[in-house]
């Protein structure tokens, strides 16, 4: 953990300026996380409470013991944490996560949002939940947590969020794979962008790793009750090999049972939750449709783009 001491900032700044570098930049050209923190006056009525704490790389395990792996699966660089307080005695905790790339930031944002929150115009996308909010922008995921759900706290979350947003210059689009989800009936807040098994296991466990060495994946839920997962393997050859492995694993898994459906050409399984899973190979990708009945599962798998 690095404690940032405000008394050292002028000296560090001077050294960097003399050395020809811009003090507001990190080694890879991005801004230092501390420079993204709201200062006095940036969010009216809110001021910093204590010193910021920064946890780079593997030090994330110190901050999030038992929950850091998912950040590393997406690609994690560092996090800075700063508390704020209001004159009315409210508290908000701000976390700015610097991820390895915009896809990692988008993915972590989708992983953290509940899908039940209200969309807010922060960063590239933001979601306000009962007592916290998340947004992403460029390589950053920002989480603001209040400690009650009062109007004053919610206003503080939004004000501090806007202040951070204004300091971030980077922007990026969501990964192209997201477009593989069929648009009609898709619940936008349900979309999860995944980069590994940890994330996949959270949204739909296959209880195996065989055939699941995908490069990226995306899952979305639909108004119909069906869900669609699209796994991208990077090449048709890799996809074919992976599907052969996954198919074999499911055939031998106690939690999945192969079953017949209306289309004999579509592999169909009944999972341990009583849902049907239909599989469709398409180019570099494997589409998995999940539905309450075979037809629904097959139909949603067929809609993958």
């Amino acid at each position: 953990m690095k404690r940032l001491r405000s008394s050292l900032v002028p000296a560090v700044l001077a050294c960097l300026v003399l050395g020809g570098a811009w003090a507001g930049q990190s080694g890879d050209g991005g801004p230092k996380l501390a420079s993204l923190l709201p200062g006095s006056g940036d969010a009216q009525g809110w001021s910093r409470d204590g010193e910021p704490q920064e946890y780079p790389g593997q030090e994330l395990y110190t901050y999030i013991d038992g929950g850091a792996e998912i950040y590393h699966e997406y690609g994690f660089r560092a996090v800075i944490v700063q508390d704020f307080e209001s004159a009315a005695g409210k508290s908000v905790s701000l976390e700015i996560f610097e991820m390895a790339d915009p896809g990692a930031a988008y993915g972590m944002f989708t992983f953290k949002r509940s899908g039940q929150g209200r969309s807010v115009p922060l960063g590239s996308a933001g979601a306000l939940e009962d007592y916290y909010l998340n947004f992403w922008k460029g390589r950053y995921v920002v989480t603001l947590t209040g400690f009650d759900d009062s109007a004053a706290t919610i206003a503080g979350l939004l004000a501090l969020g806007r202040a951070v947003d204004a300091k971030m210059g980077e922007t990026a689009e969501a990964p192209g794979l997201v477009a593989a989800l069929a648009g009609e009936g898709l619940k936008p807040g349900s979309v999860k962008y995944l980069r590994g098994l940890l994330g996949l296991n959270n949204v739909y466990p296959f209880y195996t790793a065989r055939g699941l060495a995908f490069t990226a994946a995306v899952k979305g839920d639909y108004e119909s009750g069906a869900s669609l997962i699209v796994l991208d393997y990077g090449s048709a050859q890799a996809r074919a090999s992976a599907w052969a492995d996954l198919n074999a694993a499911l055939e031998n898994a106690g939690r999945f049972k192969r079953t017949g459906g209306p289309d004999a050409g579509v592999p169909l399984f009944l999972d341990g939750q009583g849902r049907y899973a239909a599989f469709r190979e398409t180019g570099d990708r494997l589409a998995v449709g999940l539905g309450a009945n075979p037809s629904a599962a097959i139909a949603i798998a067929a809609q993958a783009r």
Partner: protein, 312 residues
């Protein structure tokens, strides 16, 4: 009282020497495949007064002195994950358990942890510990402060690395909060014991090649189960009052408020009950299923006596 013990101080106090037998006698009691002669009992206290719900849950199990005889030295293990709502054991529950231990005539009561003091401060647990006058023993993440405990019947983990100071206590009360977990969907009494195992050992629960090696996918769950064969708490008191059901274990995430405190000695039965609180099937949670398979407890709640009562 807060003490953070480094290796040198630990050795100086003599706490690290010659104390292995005590734990072997009382805590390291893996019970693989023992036939269950009596059905497990899970006590559930319900209500918004968490202290009273705690007392009710434990009271439903019988006399507290069964778990903490007079003169016992008691180690407490609350969860201090973060200060995000639903991620840490509530201070009111800790206070209630401390009160019961005192009433039972415990000789010494201490919370043990290798987490930083800030976690205890931010969660309000330190204030309870200080006002109740019990010990808070915090340890550096120094491997010399942990000792090896063989797990002969461990499937993935053959050796735990438990806080050596645990040997100084006769009884362990495991005090997790049940909640979502990004790694294995669920955390409860089984997983909380990682709080006694060394951080370095815990890291090995996540294999570096688990993304590509099919055999590694359930490695974390299997290690948790194996660890539970090395430690047997005298009692588990689980916070299920306000819990994270998404983005766990750290949060922030969606909260559910069952307003329950769950107590018992059968960790598998307790976790099976808690998983059901937010719609998870126990046999879909790998750690619970495997723990049952290794004889650590009963996963089928139809074979468990679940006593649920409001505190009033």
């Amino acid at each position: 009282m807060t003490r953070t013990l480094g290796r040198r101080e630990f050795i100086k106090t003599g706490a690290g020497a010659g104390l292995t037998l005590a734990m072997a006698r009382t805590l390291a009691a893996g019970s693989a495949k023992k036939p269950l002669t009596k059905p497990s009992v899970v006590g559930v206290g319900i209500g918004e007064d968490y202290a009273k719900a705690t007392a009710k849950a434990i009271g439903l199990l019988g006399s507290f002195k069964t778990f903490v005889p007079k003169g016992s030295r008691v180690a407490l293990l609350p969860n201090v994950q973060s200060r995000h709502p639903g991620s840490f054991t509530k201070p009111e529950i800790l206070r209630a358990v401390i009160g019961l231990c005192k009433k039972a005539g415990a000789k010494e009561i201490s919370c043990l942890s290798w987490q930083p003091v800030k976690q205890f401060e931010d969660t309000g647990l330190k204030a309870v510990i200080e006002s109740e006058g019990i010990g808070l023993r915090l340890f550096e993440k120094d491997e010399s402060l942990f000792r090896a405990v063989p797990i002969p019947k461990g499937v993935a983990l053959k050796e735990a690395r438990l806080l050596a100071a645990l040997d100084e206590y006769d009884r362990l009360i495991n005090m997790p909060i049940t909640k979502d977990h990004a790694g294995n969907k669920f955390t409860g009494s089984l997983k909380n014991l990682m709080g006694l195992n060394s951080p370095a050992s815990n890291r090995t629960f996540h294999k570096p090649n688990w993304k590509t090696d099919p055999d590694d996918i359930a490695h974390l769950d299997q290690c948790i189960v194996d660890l539970n064969m090395a430690v047997k708490p005298a009692l588990n008191v689980v916070d299920a009052t306000e819990i994270l059901v998404s983005n766990g274990p750290f949060g922030p995430g969606q909260l559910m408020r069952p307003e329950k405190v769950v107590a018992g000695t059968d960790r598998v039965a307790i976790d099976a009950y808690c998983a059901g609180l937010w719609g998870l099937k126990p046999d879909e949670i790998v750690q619970i299923k495997r723990a049952a398979g290794q004889g650590l407890g009963e996963i089928d709640l139809l074979k468990v006596v679940v006593k649920e009562e409001y505190y009033y």
